[in-house]
Amino acid sequence: MTATLETALLSTADTAVALSAVRKVFGHGSSAVVALDGVDLKVKPGEFVCLLGASGCGKSTLLNIVAGLDGATSGELQINTSRPAVMFQEPALMPWLTAARNVELALRFAGVGRLARKRRALELLELVRLGDVADKRPHELSGGMRQRVALARALASTTVSADGSPALLLMDEPFAALDAITRDVLQSELLRVWETTNTAIIFVTHDVREAVRLGQRVVLLSSRPGRVVREWDVTDSSDAVLDEINTHLREVISGHAS
């Protein structure tokens, strides 16, 4: 009895996010589209997981469900972290606010006081090396800088709870719209931030190289409906793994040719 209880406790402490048999259907009747079908996924606290898949695999849907922006049709979602933060493909900064104020906005919604807000926002901007442009507005910043402000804002909304519950960051192809060099720099920036903040990250991408470089684990989803096809541990990534994942992704995609 005691042993069972302990395992249960242990397993909650060991999981940041747990999805079991999550199913998502859009629409009704004959026009219904199954976006996700029986997705099981576990993410440990502080783990970096990349969700990989072609278009229509429901990666974004999955992320929205974890973020609480969308509900699952059936299945179970368990989150043992503070409020998950979301980062989209576009920075989506408020164009009328400075970089610092954009970060502060997340803290304001969480009810943080004025002075603490200011200090924390500046800390986070320093973390993404944007302390110097804190008072610039989004239109004065480059695409890469904007995305870093968005990262700082996302971190602000997730690390805010001081009760020690682990943080969770959800990223939906955040670097897809950037040029190659900027993307390269931001990837290393993200890894640095991840190492210093110990945040669990679910990172959605369609780029195998990016997934292997960033993640500790790569999860391949099939398309229409989205199911977990395979997982790879990529902590010590080699070119062989890269090729293997590539082959599988191509198989998944070519399965849709008719």
Partner: protein
């Protein structure tokens, strides 16, 4: 992938250095004046010149086309006797009060129309239709309902400006990129916080355009109402002044009144709406039109 991290950091720092915006230095005051203040002055001087020439050619009789200097003398007379200030005050305070009342009515109305589907379906097109109805059309009805009283004038002003302001706000809210409220929800904003910190600021440019148009409509409606509804108990506003000039066959007074009406319109635009609009658009990097 093969690049060591410290090299990448340097690349990142280099990118940032290249990306940091170069702040354009402001040109000196006299140069800005030369650019923005001089052209309208020249246009005005040309207009005066054409007017003077037309008058000198004596194509039209004096009671139809007065000499510029006679209109000027009428203006100086009404200003030196203090009459002009009384007239301006009467009209301006009505317009401002009417406009403020319109803002108070139109803002919640616009929010309702934009956010509640049933309300939009019910009165959305009616409001747009009202915008194209000249508010002077309300004057006869208003006189029958309220008599020749200030209520008539305020009613006409409200009917003129409320649709513009409400429609401006609706357009402003409709044009908000859907991603912004989504981000708000992802950051944990409730309904009220989202409206206060995301929807309203995001809709501000459209709302401001609506306010500007609403002001123009309330000023126009006021003039129409004042010209038609004249009575001693209403006092003398610009519209009555214009009406009196016409009754007295005094073309100098008529032109002076038109000039004063224009002056107020341009003055409010330059002193209030232009700077507000500039500040709002500049903050968003929308400097194309400035």
């Amino acid at each position: 992938m093969a690049t060591p991290p410290d090299t990448l950091d340097k690349v990142g720092a280099g990118l940032d250095a290249l990306d940091v915006p170069v702040s354009a230095h402001k040109p000196p005051l006299w140069r800005r004046f030369l650019k923005t203040g001089v052209p309208p002055l020249i246009a005005f001087a040309l207009l005066l010149g054409v007017w003077q020439a037309l008058w000198a050619s004596a194509l039209l009789p004096e009671f139809q086309l007065p000499a510029p200097v006679n209109v000027w003398n009428e203006l100086v007379r009404s200003i030196s006797t203090g009459e002009a200030f009384g007239i301006l005050w009467t009209s301006l305070h009505r317009a401002v009060l009417g406009f403020l009342a319109a803002v108070l009515i139109a803002t919640p109305l616009g929010l309702l129309i934009a956010k509640v589907r049933v309300v939009r379906a019910a009165i959305g097109s009616l409001l747009t239709g009202l915008q194209s109805l000249p508010s002077v059309a309300w004057v006869p009805a208003a006189i029958l309902w309220f008599g020749v009283t200030p209520s008539t004038i305020y009613f006409v002003v409200l009917m003129g400006s409320v649709p513009s302001i409400a429609n401006g706000l609706v357009a402003g809210i409709d044009q908000i990129p859907p991603l912004l409220p989504r981000v708000g929800r992802a950051l944990g904003a409730g309904r009220f916080a989202s409206a206060r910190h995301i929807l309203l600021p995001a809709a501000l440019p459209g709302y401001l355009a609506g306010l500007k148009q609403g002001w123009a409509f309330s000023w126009r409606s006021l003039m129409a109402a004042e010209i038609i509804a004249t009575s001693p108990q209403l006092g003398v506003g610009l519209g009555q002044y214009l009406h009196n000039g016409s009754s007295l066959n005094d073309i100098n007074m008529v032109i002076a009144a038109i000039f004063l009406i224009l002056l107020v319109g341009i003055g409010i635009e330059l002193l209030l709406f232009r700077p507000l609009e500039r500040a709002v658009l500049r903050a968003r990097g929308l400097t194309g039109a400035l």
